[in-house]
């Protein structure tokens, strides 16, 4: 629902980094999004195309890598990958004391610039 604000955050970070590197054009932006965030990939691409116009990222492709969720059990140490719905209980010992390792990421990895 707030993909526009997220896209703005990506654009401003990418432009700052590109300018710091002395670039005049951004070709690609690589980002990672955890599946447990409320960010929808389609909506993000839509927002990206709307806001990049008139900037040095005018033609920049947004490459989105969706990252699966992983949790670890505090009781038995078991580590497992899961979707949005099945991370609360350890599949090995049925314990509820679990720690989320990945799945809530929302980060820019790199940019490709000229």
């Amino acid at each position: 629902m707030h993909e526009m604000g997220i896209a703005e955050g990506i654009l401003s970070s990418a432009i700052t980094a590109a300018e710091d590197a002395g670039a005049t054009k951004i070709n690609e932006v690589d980002i990672t999004v955890g599946v447990l965030t409320e960010v929808m990939e389609d909506a993000l691409h839509f927002a990206w195309e709307a806001i990049r116009t008139g900037t040095m990222a005018e033609a920049a492709v947004l490459n989105v890598t969706m990252l699966d969720a992983r949790s670890q059990c505090a009781d038995c140490g078991h580590e497992w990958g899961h979707d949005r719905y099945s991370g609360a209980q350890c599949p090995s010992c049925s314990g509820y004391l679990v720690r989320l390792l990945t799945g809530r990421e929302l980060k820019i990895d790199s940019i490709d610039i000229d």
């Binding site: 629902m1 707030h2 604000g5 997220i6 980002i31 490709d112």
Partner: protein, 222 residues
């Protein structure tokens, strides 16, 4: 040329949230971020919570809405300081808005700040405000299948309030099914069935909150 950045996209929000959090800790104030759909009973629950805890704690409320100041006025009519934030269309609160609102409050004189987030079951769960705890409300008329549809908000909440329990017979709400799905998403959050406007169950919820406030005070003093 490829350049590595490795930066959180919401870095600006997260930094301000951390600053808010240490400011609250310095003043020993417990801050609750209350999230729910429009009309689930956030304001009603806040008023009932105030009534349950006002003899013990000094309370203020931050009201987040897309527009209008009716909720802040309801709280002020209850004799409690309230700050209204209008997000102007944004579907969630961000940490910068909380910082501005908190600037108008006397933190030294407060024990508890309750934030009413914008009515939305989706994005408030992604935004750290610097709160001490996020808690959500689901109301019975919304249906017992909502945890399946909005898992994220149930996962980030430290407690789940089930409001409007007085309407359960009318809506064929399956409380056992609701509880089991919440458990599959969040193994530890307590569930408090309440009727905010009638008062049922509010005492149990308020006791849990008081326990959290005391724990935060003990930590601040140590």
């Amino acid at each position: 040329m490829k350049v590595d950045i490795e930066q959180r996209i919401l870095a600006a929000n997260d930094e301000l949230a951390s600053a808010n959090r240490s400011r609250f800790a310095d003043h020993g104030v417990f801050v609750l971020d209350l999230m729910a759909s429009p009309g689930a009973g956030k304001t009603s629950t806040i008023l009932a919570t105030i009534d349950a805890l006002r003899d013990r704690y000094a309370i203020a409320v931050i009201e987040g809405d897309i527009a209008s100041k009716v909720d802040a006025e309801k709280v002020r009519a209850h004799g409690i300081p309230a700050v209204q934030i209008n997000t102007g269309g944004a579907c969630h609160l961000e940490s910068a808005m909380i910082r501005r609102a908190v600037d108008t409050l006397d933190l030294d004189a407060l024990d508890l700040i309750i934030i009413e987030n914008v009515g939305n079951l989706v994005c408030p769960s992604d935004f750290d405000l610097g709160e001490s705890a996020k808690v959500m409300i689901l109301s019975v008329p919304e249906g017992h299948d909502k945890p399946q549809k909005y898992p994220n908000i149930f996962q980030v909440s430290e407690a789940v309030i089930l409001n409007k329990c007085d309407t359960m017979p009318v809506f064929d709400f399956d409380e056992a099914e609701f509880t089991s799905v919440v458990r599959s998403l969040n193994g530890v959050a307590p569930i408090f069935p309440i009727s905010a406007t009638k008062g049922d169950g509010v005492a149990e919820w308020a006791e849990w909150l008081a326990g959290r406030i005391e724990a935060a005070k003990a930590e601040a003093a140590s």
